[in-house]
Symmetry: none
């Protein structure tokens, strides 16, 4: 995840986005991932009002700035990255897949922050849904980023929905770099595993159940003690579930015995 100072150095530049709901979708994706600086390049006044209905996007849209040209929109940026669907045109730029591009963008963002007092920024340019970025617009870019997509046989090269493309790019920028090395800590349900003593209690009770129900007699091949022990080990019980299972099995034994005594 980026720091707040780093988030502040990233500009998203929408070039010739005509559809207010697309602008709203972009603003929402920015909000979701923590980005704030939206710049819009258009020859006509941008219909921000219509876009403001987008959920949670209001702060981003309120601060959005309009520019008359790409040159003006990226004037304070030290790195300008264009986005493109490959294959659309004869590319004159270096092209990086999103994941590799994100590493370089983060590097430059950090350099901007470290050069303290400066206001240098990094720009990500997105073209209109219909035509993408023109060659003139692309010429402002240092290099290009592309999102790897599936090439359907016989179909024209796919281009993504604008909001979705922005979401994927921003996700790449904030994705924890630690994950890249394959290590990450998960949260949610993360109880410690039950110890072997607890598992043995569960195993003993399960064996009692198998005896009491005559399962052992009927399915002798499944009832070897080591087999039952492994069966319980494969459950992967944690410290919360182990006593639940013990409770269930104890109740079964109690019921079987009580019933037999009646």
């Amino acid at each position: 995840m980026l720091t707040d100072a780093e988030f502040d150095r990233v500009c998203l530049v929408l070039v010739r986005a005509r559809n207010p709901s697309n602008i709203g979708a972009v603003a929402r994706a920015m909000h979701d991932f923590g980005f704030r600086r939206l710049r819009v390049v258009n020859e006509f006044p941008v219909p921000f009002e219509a876009a403001r209905s987008a959920v949670d996007a209001s702060a981003v849209l309120a601060d959005a700035v309009g520019y008359a040209s790409v040159a003006e929109a990226v004037a304070d940026c030290t790195l300008v990255v264009g986005t493109t669907a490959v294959g659309e045109r004869d590319l004159q730029h270096r092209l990086l897949p999103a994941a590799e591009a994100a590493v370089r963008v983060r590097e430059e963002v950090r350099r901007c922050v470290d050069a303290d007092g400066g206001t240098a920024r990094v720009a990500l340019l997105f073209g209109s849904e219909k035509t993408g970025l023109s060659n003139e617009e692309l010429s402002h870019c240092h290099w290009l980023l592309t999102i790897p997509m599936y090439e359907h046989e016989g179909l024209r090269h796919p281009s993504m929905n604008l909001g979705q493309a922005v979401a994927v790019c921003l996700y790449e920028l904030v994705r924890d770099e630690a994950e890249r090395g394959g290590i990450s800590e998960s949260n949610g349900r993360t109880f410690a595993l039950a110890d072997s003593a607890a598992l043995e209690r569960t195993t003993a009770l399960l064996r009692e159940v198998l005896e009491e129900t005559e399962y052992t007699r009927r399915h002798a091949a499944n009832s070897d003690p080591a087999q039952v022990r492994r069966l319980v080990r494969r459950m992967g019980l944690d410290v919360v579930d182990a006593p639940v299972w013990t409770g269930i099995l104890r109740q079964v034994v109690w019921k079987l015995r009580g019933a037999r005594r009646e």
Copy 2:
């Protein structure tokens, strides 16, 4: 990138998606990244017609299948992954960030393909934009995936636009693994996981046992149907152990009833 056979083993399951344009956006993201199997769970007929206007999504939508319940929609799936915005509820599941989740999904997809002749699949569940997945719906899941988002101070936890969330998840699944630095996992026992239909049979029998033994009455707090379903999902049953447990539970039920009749 996945192979065509692997793409075929991934199902996207939309639960209670009401807005046709959202369904269309999901179908378009699937098309862009090469996924084909869309399943929709709804209590009313799904307005696929209205969604068909989505660019490039027609093939995905034409093959979409409607189901009346989550259980039916995931019956042939050996791994069911729910998606959630963290912080919405008290999570009862293991929660993995999207990048780590994608590694595990791909592993299971490959296992499904390697078990040749099989039709086992992996399901990714997405809830309605408004409410996400309910606890009952989540209880069909083995674990949950979340897209890390920015936590805005003083604002409710963000939830992503449905089409954008799907795009990010599918992007993670197809992103070149080489970038990740190569993660692999191997173990000895490598039977395929049991599908959800088998897990539901185990769950139903366990609930019968809990009823018959009066466990339900004594430990009401542990006996909620969704809780019992999650307890069984956490066992991580494979195709060998699932019928063993079903056999054990059936024997317990048989004995309890037989004993009562005596």
